[in-house]
């Protein structure tokens, strides 16, 4: 059912759609980042499309992508875009779904914000910014949502270590684990 959506989208925006795909019952369209706002507005307003219900917005970090059983050319390399931001949409009237994906390079992870088109993406884009560092141009209030302002770094990127904590407050009489804090040695060690 959603194949018609992909066909109509490619017909309406032939230069914006990089490629389309349909796998595991999901229809996906890769869109160029400059055309994203126009495509999104058309998808919402066109009566045959009527994508009025936003579902989710997230990002994939491809830097560790080495799929098993695929040729080495599919592994990530410096020439390929590092991030892909995905938007999933749904139509209440026609009951079809589509996923828009936008590929972003590592040095310039910015794309236009869809918070004005669908208000649900306001917080979801803040979450993507918080976790991956993607900047959304035109977002009314782009700040961290899950983590605190003092946090440095974007934790869901593959190069952020899972257990790297940035504590805000600790007890001052906390016992020190000598295995994890090797600099804090007892003074009798050197004697």
């Amino acid at each position: 059912m959603s194949q018609k959506v992909l066909a109509a989208l490619t017909a309406a925006f032939p230069d914006a759609v990089v490629r389309t795909g349909s796998a595991h019952d999901d229809e996906t369209a890769w869109i160029k980042r400059e055309e994203l706002l126009a495509v999104a507005t058309w998808l919402r307003d066109d009566p045959a499309m009527a994508f009025d219900a936003p579902v989710f917005c997230t990002c994939i970090d491809w830097i560790d992508w080495r799929p098993v059983g695929r040729p080495v050319s599919e592994h990530w390399s410096e020439t390929k875009p590092r991030f892909t931001v995905c938007y999933q949409l749904r139509s209440v009237a026609h009951k079809h779904r589509i996923r828009l994906e936008v590929e972003l390079p590592e040095h310039d992870p910015r794309l236009p914000s869809l918070a004005d088109v669908w208000p649900a993406f306001n917080w979801q884009e803040r979450e993507t910014f918080d976790m991956y560092g993607i900047r959304f141009d035109g977002h009314p209030d782009l700040r961290r949502i899950y983590l605190y302002e003092e946090f440095v770094g974007y934790p869901l990127r593959k190069d952020y270590p899972k257990e790297k904590r940035q504590p805000l407050v600790r007890r001052d009489d906390l016992p020190v684990n000598p295995l994890k804090a090797p600099h804090a040695r007892h003074e009798s060690d050197n004697k």
């Binding site: 796998a23 595991h24 019952d25 999901d26 009025d52 219900a53 936003p54 579902v55 989710f56 997230t58 994939i60 970090d61 560790d64 992508w65 080495r66 799929p67 098993v68 059983g69 695929r70 995905c86 999933q88 209440v92 009951k95 996923r99 669908w118 208000p119 649900a120 306001n122 917080w123 979801q124 979450e127 976790m131 961290r144 949502i145 899950y146 983590l147 605190y148 934790p155 869901l156 899972k162």
Partner: protein, 417 residues
């Protein structure tokens, strides 16, 4: 007299009330900033709201979630597909079975096993999902009623929830965090005499629902506190991404079980209650009616459940039975590989969604051929609903924040992942 007045002013730092004229003694019309949370009895989860109030009316609000951000996505990248099940339990911890089933469905979509599960496994999944949905609605209504001062419905519903917890403990071994579903089915079959136990449980719960309905819904105090509060129009509900009982209370006729049916829901008969105004009263009504529909689905399932296997018969996905694992070398190696390496899912990405206690709960999984997910994103309805709370509490009193937050059913674990 003038000396006494000036002395008083010196001491107080301002004019004393008796010395002020009528205009001066009006309360200053400044806006005040009030902080609610993160540890607050009226917050269902742990969330901080910074309210700017004019007297008691809310002018602006800034909702700050993230106090329970437990890094579900990052932890999933380091765990095998089966090890992610306990993490999903703790997402929406009032209806944990539904999260388990959702994650299993997402991985099965990537493996191409959707629709190929044994029918008994599908029925078991539906049964435990509906039981979890019942615990979700019981907790939500009970806790919200308690926050409005109605302590008795809370105790009655908690008593009903205990019966369900005992039954869920009999099925899965744990009262709250079950980790019962597995990729390809469930971890073990239903216990003996389950049908009798469940029928007894439902027969005990039905009069409790009737009691609480009588206590709450024709109670003038309760009515005055929730009618007209936090109303949401149908268009607002759709474009802000609201799903589940909140959207249905606003008139959006969307239920994943009926519109994008999965598992054995096409064979089951149930109604989807719809509200009109989208205020807190409608949300209560929708949830109460859904409790009854859950009981109806459970009774049908007990009549229709077939005999058979509880997990798909695919060695790449299912663990071998213990008898084989202890006696044959192939099964032992298979068991070992499943636990250490995990289920090898071919590379791809898929989004699977189902009807959670709060609405459309979805898992977006990117697999890279190893036994660990490359990315696991949870589309949590509570997060989306919390983002609408800001406009729902606008222009209401501080006391109205309590029923609105209660009926949004913002589960902290799901909202903050």
């Amino acid at each position: 007299m003038a000396d006494a007045q000036s002395l008083k002013q010196l001491v107080l730092g301002r004019k004393d009330v008796q010395d002020m004229s009528d205009e001066e003694s009006e309360l200053p019309p400044e806006l005040m900033t009030v902080n609610m949370g993160p540890s607050h009895p009226a917050m269902h989860g742990t969330v901080r709201i910074v309210l700017t109030v004019d007297g008691e009316k809310i002018v602006k609000s800034d909702i700050q979630p993230g106090y329970l951000h437990r890094c579900f996505e990052k932890e999933s990248e380091y765990a095998t597909y089966t090890q992610v099940f306990p993490y999903t339990d703790r997402l929406n911890y009032v209806s944990p079975m539904i999260n388990n089933v959702g994650w299993a469905m997402a991985v099965e979509k990537l493996l191409g096993l959707t629709g190929k599960l044994p029918r008994r496994a599908e029925y078991i999944r539906v049964i435990v999902s509906e039981m979890s949905r019942m615990t979700d609605h019981l907790t939500c209504i009970g806790a919200s009623a308690m926050e409005l001062g109605a302590f008795t419905p809370f105790l009655y519903f908690l008593k009903a929830r205990e019966w369900l917890y005992e039954l869920l403990e009999k099925i899965s071994g744990a009262r709250l965090t079950h980790s019962y579903a597995r990729v390809g089915g469930v971890v073990k079959d239903l216990p003996l005499d389950f049908e009798a136990d469940l029928t007894l449980c439902l027969d005990k719960i039905d009069p409790v629902i009737v009691d609480v309905e009588k206590m709450l819904l024709s109670n003038k105090i309760f009515y005055d506190r929730v009618v007209g509060i936090g109303a949401m129009s149908r268009e607002d509900a759709i474009k802000t991404g609201c799903v589940g009982p909140i959207a249905r209370a606003a008139g959006v006729d969307y239920d994943v079980r009926r519109d994008f049916p999965y598992s054995v829901y096409p064979e089951l008969e149930f109604d989807v209650p719809l509200g009109t105004t989208g205020d807190c009263y409608d949300r209560y009504l929708v949830r109460l009616e859904e409790l009854r529909q859950c009981a109806r689905i459970l009774r049908q399932c007990m009549r229709q459940i077939p005999e058979g296997a509880f997990v798909v018969d695919d060695p790449r996905v299912a663990m071998p039975p213990k008898k084989d694992a202890y006696n044959t070398i192939e099964s032992m190696i298979r068991h070992f590989k499943h636990i250490v390496d995990g289920i090898r899912v071919p590379p791809g990405e898929a989004y699977a969604f189902l009807e959670g206690g709060n609405g459309e709960l979805g898992f977006f999984v990117v697999a890279d051929g190893t036994g660990r997910p490359y990315k696991a994103y949870c589309r949590s309805p509570s997060f989306v609903h919390l983002s609408t709370a800001s406009q729902l509490i606008h222009d209401h009193y501080i006391a109205d924040v309590v029923p609105i937050f209660g009926m949004i059913n913002m589960i902290g674990g799901e909202c903050d992942k």
